[in-house]
Amino acid sequence: MSFEQTWLPFIYLYGVGGIAFGIGMFLIFKTNALRVNYNKHKNWIWILFYGYFFYVSIHALFIFLAMGSK
């Protein structure tokens, strides 16, 4: 399997998508829409990052599984 079939889509997805995610996080922090010192918001910071890495893990896992299968 070629790079174009395996890791290039993955890198593009989480690279370009990651830029969109990063800009979003920056904007909501900068505008105080998400307040670090507000109890109800603290969990949301974790959830937002967890979601991003959750999908990174799922896709990476399946690429490894596919590359290792016959």
């Binding site: 174009e4 904007l27 829409a33």
Partner: protein
Amino acid sequence: MENIVGTNLDRIVILAYFALVMGFGAYFGKYSKTTSDYFFGGRRFAWWLITISIVATGIGSHSFVKYSTKAFQYGFSSTMTYMNDWFFMPLFLFGWLPIIYYMKLGSIPEYFEKRFSREARYIATFMILLYMIGYIAIQFLTLATALYKIYGIPLMLTVVLIAIATTIYMHFGGQTSVIFTDLIQGFILIFAGLLIFILGINYLSENTIFESGLSAFWQSLSPLEKLPLAHFNHPPDFNFVGIFWQDGIAGSIGFLFLNQGLIMRFMAAKSVNEGRKAAAFNVLFILPISAIVVSNAGWIGKAIYNSVPGALSENIAPNDVFVAVANLIASPGVFGFIIAALCAALMSTSDTLVNASSSVIINDIYRPLTKNKSSDEQQLKLARLSSIGVKVIAVLLVPFFNSFDSIYEAHGWFHSTFTPPLVVGVFMGIFWKRFTSTAVIATFLLGAFLMILGQFYPVLISPFSHGIELRPGRGYSYIGALYNIFVCAGVGVIFTFFTKPDKNKNLDGLTVFDAHKLKDMFKGSKANETEGEKVEVQWKIDSNKKDVIRFSKNDMDRMSAKKGDLVYMQDSRWWYGGLKSIHSVFGKPHNEDGIVYINDKQLDSGLFVDNFPLLAEKEM
């Protein structure tokens, strides 16, 4: 009639399912007393109820057919479109959702008027209505195509019958009916999708030499078919980069920020935080499950095709995979149930869109034209009639969509044509204060013109193609979305810099930069953010006609509430999910602990019953 599939038992199961859902939906009509109830369910539901009902909205009847087709052709990468929505969650959860909820927006076009101008609202109304009604037509067509093969009734007659069936419960119930019918249909969809997988594994276990059905499934798929993402830029009709821009960017923003049906669902949540929970849970857990539910008939079909020669026809058309696989692996009656799930998908998606369309008709056409002088009762009546009108137009559009090569193509054309100008308009409106009214109208009109130009002259799209092959005579497919976004955004930026910002325009609460003060604006005074307890109380009737409810001083202290704060009160039985609940304001306290005084109107709106305690909490 050629190739009629299924048995009489299957046909009875499908009819019984339609009858069950119509009865269930019509029952909830009693909860729709005002246009707010009809469109937004009274803003009272718990996050879990919203989440499960979203499952049924997100999975249309076209989803089963479309994703099974791609799953059969390309394997696990059919899940791509369901698993790329997280990137915009920060902006949605903490930017857009609070804006629409706290600014009490009745519709997306209303945002365009408040943020820009009335002209922008009218153009947005036209585009959104066209988009939603066309989407409903595609849903009708997909299901009719499947039922037509089972019942042998002419296609257009099947379409009309489906439209009538969905009208019956929608007509009376509005958003509450939509949410509750979608709740059961969501469960049925997930169950049916997983049932297909179990039946398929069982079929593979019995008909192959592998140790187990799961082993047969895994080993019958090639490594390429197990990859979760498609090839970067090949083939033209299914490649990663094109689908990323069409679905992961334009589609995700469209889904989260512009889908009036989905937005209305979040606005039916009892609070912004409940809406956030529903959205996050949906994208994190429900969408991956949905991806499996809609795709696995294709994966199972491919595994059977690879390992059980002759079980599926050599010449099977990819679009027929879903029905063919379901018919092969399920016994009579069970096949009917699976097709009933397809009906569930259609009914739940179209009812949401019909409700959303009538909301747009009332909020963005009728109310502005009549200057909101008609009574709520008249508007509710018109909302019900307009939901019928929307379906009539959708039925009339079916032949047009039937003329496309496939439902997939019709659906793709829709997304790429109607979403980008609106996506750019709403996105730049929220995140760029300088973005002007002239610029948004130019984005809609000139942007649309440049998009059409791109369809006729694919050479314009070539610089964005990422090496995707140009299909002779058919142009580029998904990657056109990148070009469309680029030209719309470009027009928006250029016109913004060449026009003066309207200094008289009040943008308070309409951009992400005001998100931190939206609660104060919603309440009308400083929000009380002190955390308090939830308190269980018994209700008593008060002769007071004001929209306040009165608790004891001690109970208010436990809730950290003050007179004038906002309160939410619901039946303490959690499984109602907020169906029996009200929002109000804390009134002057009394001294009877554990007692709350409400008036007749609040009792009627909350549908509270004797002897069941209520659970109250301070909102802000």
